[in-house]
Symmetry: C2
Subunit: 341 residues, 2 copies
DNA sequence: ATTAGAAATGCAATCGATTGCCAGAAAAGA
DNA sequence: TCTTTTCTGGCAATCGATTGCATTTCTAAT
């Protein structure tokens, strides 16, 4: 009871007139300690209210049992599901999780990564910010061979495990579905093409057009940051143009929402005049009127997989370079489902 | 360069032929070190790629600069906003944040609290799980005088700072608004009454009725866990009964959503036949058709305030017992706004 | 030139748990 | 009975940064 208040293994050792090493080993269930002694020590530890000081242990073992997470924003449903998946796996394996948000900002992402490094996390899971231009901040991790796993939004320049979804296929299916509904003049509102996910959704869209022998028109492709505001701006632009589209495939639900609201306000009938499909299956998409067709991403499972991958790398001390691609699921709702024609 | 790869203050000291203490002090900007030396040391540190080992520092100073957070679930918009508020303040003050989810489960909450304690967080911010029956796990913190702040859902038995919203007033305003719309037979669907927030919303409802000289009927009050499922069950029960209500005040938006969907499916007109108001202003509530009236909570600001309070207690080493009550905001939308009569 | 006093820096213990190596005791074999 | 193994357990160094106290160096005053 010397040290302030905190009970240490030394206090237990003194109490039991044995050495601290024995206490440490007993509590870690080391086979070198006899059953009887272990029992005695555990009992004393419990009685004295001992709580291991993980900081001390971390310093000595150079393991923090902590996984860092860097995501754009926690409030997006896809990411909060992913976090739940990460936590699920992490806690079951005895890891804590430190979550940080970049808020789509490069500087903030950099700071977060540095802070996680200083906190000596055993590994990190990252989904890039839209604003990220440079990836040097990850060298901190790759140089020291600290496991790094990207999910959803990754960076090609760094060879490290990735958990992705099949954005190409998602974009393909969404577009194909629109074509099957009879749409021919399909606009695509995409995100920053620096990000793999948006580039692939575009490719899927283009491929579906091509397979249906519909020519891809540059003028039918818009890029934005996919916020609601941007959606509102773009939809006005679209409908101010000469030729009106009969369908819009948005790279996320947020911009699809803007379109729906614009359409409703301007007497454009959905899906009769205009079909709309989004991406991500935000919780609200099924609640809209008309309900929004979209492409679902398995957020929770992606989080789980990413966590399993970092933990595997941490424990096995192997830096692999596996890439896991998870399937998307086309969800058809009212916004694209024309009545039997 | 002895120790593996990691640069320590000793490496810098050796390089510059000075002592490690001087390096430490210089990097901490201690006034006892001369400007010239500081400059020299900082330069060397930068050049050598030195990264402070915060674990070592934490062990020595017994400060982790980390705040733990325990919330029911990250996916609820109110909580993710609160987290953003917490992070905002925390990062600006040099703290990391460890977030854990109880998923409304008592056992999980207990585990999370214990884990945060073992991780030696400098303080914790908690919003209780619905399932919490017992609060002994917080003794770990209160006994050791580690700052603990409750927000939104607190526990009366522990005297510690709280950041709350004015649930009474929120319930009162919501009910009063319904009465002003001409509703007289108002049902309230509340949450577990163990939780202060739901008990207070009920009280506000009752007070509003009383002030309008409407008798509170026990049969108009339902308790549930406020999930969508529960909402569906209850609404059927309500409309199976003899006397139909002309308004329903739900303690959250999720159950209000169930009601709206039931009403739409059963030809009950909103707001003409039935007014509905929720609580929390989930992002989807404004997107519903009809859009849902609700009571907004300042989640982000509550998070900020809670974080400021823990940090204040950490730095000033005072355990106060302040209670901050933040205002709610009634948001009137289509689901309660009858046309001019 | 000398020395009190201030300024700058160094020494060594410390935080608490872990672990390689060593030692005593008991068990087994010769 | 004596030597060799096998078990248990202890000693002391270590992880890297911090800090009270001691020491050296410098400034300035006599």
């Amino acid at each position: 009871m010397k040290t302030g208040n905190e009970i240490t293994i030394h206090d237990i050792a003194r109490e039991l007139k044995i050495s601290a090493s024995t206490v440490s080993r007993a509590l870690n269930n080391n086979p070198r300690i006899s059953k009887a002694t272990k029992e005695k020590i555990r009992e004393a530890a419990l009685k004295m209210g001992y709580r291991p000081n993980s900081i001390a242990s971390q310093l000595r073992t150079k393991k923090t049992n902590t996984i860092g997470v860097v995501i754009p924003r926690i409030s997006r449903h896809f990411f909060s599901s992913a976090i739940s998946g990460i936590e699920d796996v992490a806690y079951r394996n005895g890891y804590s999780v430190i979550i940080t948000q970049s808020e789509e900002d490069y500087e903030r992402e950099k700071l977060n990564v540095q802070s996680l490094f200083s906190n000596r996390v055993d590994g990190i899971i990252v989904s890039l910010a839209m604003g990220s231009e440079n990836f040097d901040h990850f060298k901190l991790f790759t140089d020291k061979k600290i496991p790094l796993v990207f999910f959803d939004r990754y960076c090609q320049e760094i060879s490290t495990p990735q958990v992705l979804i099949d954005d190409f296929e998602g974009g393909y299916q969404a577009t194909k579905h629109l074509i099957e509904q009879g749409c021919r003049n399909i606009v695509h509102i995409g995100g920053p093409q620096k990000l793999n996910i948006y580039a692939n959704r575009l490719k899927g869209y283009q491929q579906a057009l091509e397979d249906a022998r519909i020519r891809f028109k540059e003028s039918n492709f818009y890029v934005s940051d996919l916020t609601r505001k941007a959606g509102e701006r773009i939809v006005e632009e679209i409908f101010a143009a000469e030729e009106k589209p009969d369908a819009i495939f948005c790279a996320n639900d947020t911009s699809a929402l803007s379109i729906i609201q614009y359409a409703k306000a301007n007497g454009i009938r959905i899906p009769e005049d205009l079909c709309i499909i989004g991406f991500s299956n935000e919780p609200y998409s099924e609640l809209l009127t008309p309900s929004l067709s979209t492409v679902a991403q398995p957020g929770f499972e992606m989080g789980q997989t990413a966590a399993e991958m970092v933990i595997k790398q941490i424990t096995e001390k192997t830096i692999e370079d596996t890439k896991i691609i998870m399937p998307t699921q086309l969800i058809i709702r009212e916004s694209t489902l024309k009545k039997q024609q």
